[in-house]
């Protein structure tokens, strides 16, 4: 009986260990460091171009004012949204990171892409959703990855297998609505983030080391910063783009 109890305890311990391993963020070190920061835009943000959605009443009906192409989105505190921040160099070359089993969703809603800027790991699935019920034709314009071209005539979701190699950034366009653009950062690791409306980002689970962090914006290009982190440490990396 005592022996049976010992087996049960060891078994339970193994289950807990296994669960802990599974629950850990994909590829992130358990005692990982964090890089967090704020991306700002200085100067007067340009007005985003207005979009005439007259040809798509279903999309137009989703807006109360004239929709605009959200190229430059600045929050109340001057934070710049839709900036893709990722670790450009510094990670071990031979490191392998598990691919998330959940797909990244890109939604076509109101004849705009949501999200406009996002990250996806190599091999991670992509769920392409049409919430508008009008014809969308999404085209991935990969230079390193094989391009694809999918027509979605009605409300539907198309599952795509993952991209095969890293590519920053990989643009998407809609062939029916020329104003629709999105950008994906395809990376072999999970160390990336996109700034929210307040311009902040957080990259967690980094192993100790010195990294080049790059911030990419579709209009203002790229900026880099070098950050050295120890295990479990949190370090800032702020970026400032200038409006033009």
């Amino acid at each position: 009986m005592r022996r049976l109890g010992a087996v049960a305890v060891v078994g339970a311990g193994l289950v807990v260990l296994a669960l802990a391993t599974v629950r850990r963020p994909a590829g992130a070190a358990a005692d990982g460091a964090t890089v967090t920061g704020h991306v700002k835009l200085t100067g007067k943000a340009p007005a985003n171009p207005a979009i005439d959605m007259g040809e798509e009443p279903k999309c137009k009906a989703k807006y109360t004012t004239t929709p605009t192409d959200p190229v430059v989105v600045v929050g109340k505190t001057g934070g710049l949204a839709n900036v893709f921040v990722y670790v450009k160099t510094g990670l071990p070359a031979d490191a392998k990171y598990p691919t998330p089993t959940t797909a990244v969703e890109i939604d076509q809603n109101g004849c705009l892409y949501h999200p406009r800027v996002f990250g996806v790991m190599v091999g991670q699935g992509l769920a392409i959703k049409n919430s508008d019920g009008v014809l969308h034709n999404i085209k991935a314009l990969g230079k390193k990855n094989r391009p694809f071209n999918i027509s979605q005539p009605t409300n539907m979701v198309t599952q795509r297998a993952g991209f095969t190699v890293s590519e920053v950034m990989l643009p998407f366009e809609c062939n029916v609505h020329g104003w629709m653009h999105a950008f994906a950062g395809v990376l072999p690791d999970p160390f990336f983030a996109t700034t929210g409306d307040d311009g902040t980002f957080t990259i967690k689970g980094l192993p100790a080391g010195t990294y080049t962090i790059e911030a990419w914006h579709e209009k203002y290009g790229v900026q880099t910063a070098t950050v050295t982190v120890k295990a479990g440490e949190t370090k800032p990396a702020d970026f400032t783009f200038t409006a033009k």
Binding site: P49, A50, D52, N137, N175, H181
Partner: protein, 249 residues
Amino acid sequence: MNWWLPPQASTFAPSIDLGFLVILIITGITFVLVEVGLIVFVIRYRQRPGQKAHYTHGSTPAEVIWTAIPAVTMVILGIVSNGLWVKIKGRNSVPANAYTIGVHAKQFEWWITYPGPDGKLGRTSTSLIQKTTNPTGLDPDDPASKDDIVVRNQLHVPAGRPVVVYLSSEDVIHSFYVPQFRVRQDVVPGLEIKAWFEATVPGQYELGCSMLCGMGHYKMRAQVFVHTQADFDAWVAQRASQAKGEGTS
């Protein structure tokens, strides 16, 4: 619903319609004669008791006649309409005072470039196309491109002045077709093809793609606005004052 041809809104339209009508009358009469002959023969030579079928070569003179008449008719139609064909499609047919517009076709949109105040279209190259900022591939180093106006899915033209469109395609073969102008021209990737017309009636029409170009072919349409010259000038001035090539319309 209009059961006959669309309204005429260009200088070509009356001549094209006349040619269409002449051909329709000739082929219509031929159709009736052939069908009547067919019915007469079917009834006259139907199966009857005691009558055995026999085979005949027919009449050589009759065959020569019914071959020669359509052939001669076709040649005559070709000769008679050649002047119109040359006027519309001839290599040097574009009038010297034509207003120049760039029309760039892609799945499934029309991107129209207007020359701006300088009256000159800038150079373009497909290698310069930037999806978000330069959809027609205008060369920023060409001074003529600085004031060019790029608009999506809107073709604005003045009435009473010849307009020449320089057609280019980014991907597959499209076809520029404005029914009311009676103008249709294929747009072929790798080629710059000219087509011209002179709109006559101010109004709003539709430019469609008339070459099946993919799943979204049916959505590849632009609005055509024919203005009076004064209204057109005002429209150009208004667009020129806005930022060039914003990528939207």
